[in-house]
Symmetry: C2
Amino acid sequence: MTLDKSWFSEAVEATGTAFSLKGHKLHEEQTPYQKIEIWDTQTFGYLMTIDGCTMVSTRDNFLYHEMMSHVALNSHPDPQNVVIVGGGDCGTLSEVLKHAEVKSATQVEIDERVTRLSEKYFPELCTRNSDPRATLFFGDGIQWMKDAKPGSIDLIIIDSTDPVGPAEGLFGKRFYLDCIKALKPDGMLVQQSESPLLHLELIKEMHAAMRQAGFARTHLFHFPQTIYPSGWWSGSIATKSDAPLLERIDDRTVRGMETKFYNPRTHRGAFALPTYVEEALE
Amino acid sequence: MTLDKSWFSEAVEATGTAFSLKGHKLHEEQTPYQKIEIWDTQTFGYLMTIDGCTMVSTRDNFLYHEMMSHVALNSHPDPQNVVIVGGGDCGTLSEVLKHAEVKSATQVEIDERVTRLSEKYFPELCTRNSDPRATLFFGDGIQWMKDAKPGSIDLIIIDSTDPVGPAEGLFGKRFYLDCIKALKPDGMLVQQSESPLLHLELIKEMHAAMRQAGFARTHLFHFPQTIYPSGWWSGSIATKSDAPLLERIDDRTVRGMETKFYNPRTHRGAFALPTYVEEALE
């Protein structure tokens, strides 16, 4: 069958795949950085797209936001100072601030319009924006990281769009060098790293670039993310020190923290890699 | 954007989602049971669809076939006699026959044309069809199970289409009663059980029906399946006895058995359920 304009469709020529949600467009604007659309979908709530790519939906954003925050936070011994690069919808910030041990969380988003539209259409992701520990900075994450105080950050979360357009510079050795400088000795970085099926070469290149930049270890984890290409997504953790990842995930670390996908079992399960992925990353 | 006829699109009105693969149609036929199409896709190899729904692609079928076979086989103490209901593409049969402990594997597929087309377009799934332990029977799985010798089967794998049309009868108490009768005392059943995001109510109903029929325990596991709605799929195991599932998954059980997704880590990870799913099944 053919899909008409009553569907939002993200068709990716390079992967030969498309994902669509039935709905109608509520809003469209061209910012200095990108084109943002808001759709009211039939079954996924609101949908934000950037340059034609799905970014966040009301229904399934918990998968991505929980996994891009709690997995790394609970792999770090004491994440007090957290910086989010990108993440303008504030969903990751909101999850980070669920952790009492976090004393400061700074969101560095290049496009303020992403946040303003999220406040309107995804208010549930923005409820912690006025937390005294939160800072919302609008500007270039690459420059921000260059200027960051050396050895000041525990965890950098790179919650960006795909490695084309404004986010391209967030996926390379030069940026990783600035991250390493900004991190404390036991600091780490976590970055969204696309689909384990569709983008395995990219994942390999990312991990190689992280290690070339000086990160001691890299780790991949995976989780469902239904509105992204293939419905299957990954995050990559790079650690400055050679110590293995901690597992601060007894029941206590989730108790009192409301999550829908994340728990100690899914934390561990996310690191269980398919054999073909293990082999590719060897 | 709109998607034209250079894409195969599976649009599901009930879930408001669509998945598409770029390609062109090679073959189409109406059998007595269903409409089968074969597409040559740009990036996923061949694609078989039934009544407009994706069934199997060259590129990603390993996810489904490995997880629908090895998880249950390695949860059972000694699966010698295995019956597959559906599974006409022979991919599950092929995985089952990788296990040396399996002495007999019978595939009960209602539509012989599925198998004949698979032999032509997915020959890699059919390489074990002439294994002396394999029987390919073409007929109604519901009737077959009614007629099965009581207490004769170790593992029933229900590898069917969605619970509409010919497969509807495979998702209810009446069929499960016949399965229980056909199973040995330590026997089990595993069934594809749709998407943990889109079909949670169906999963709850399935597990309730399984227990109402007399199965002592039910278990859910999940895995990526990129061409199915949401890209995220599940299997459900029901055991006749009250014993917990075994984990016959030291390294030895995979050694010598070539798998791409499945290994002892992904086996365990598949049972790590999201919190909202745990709560729904409580």
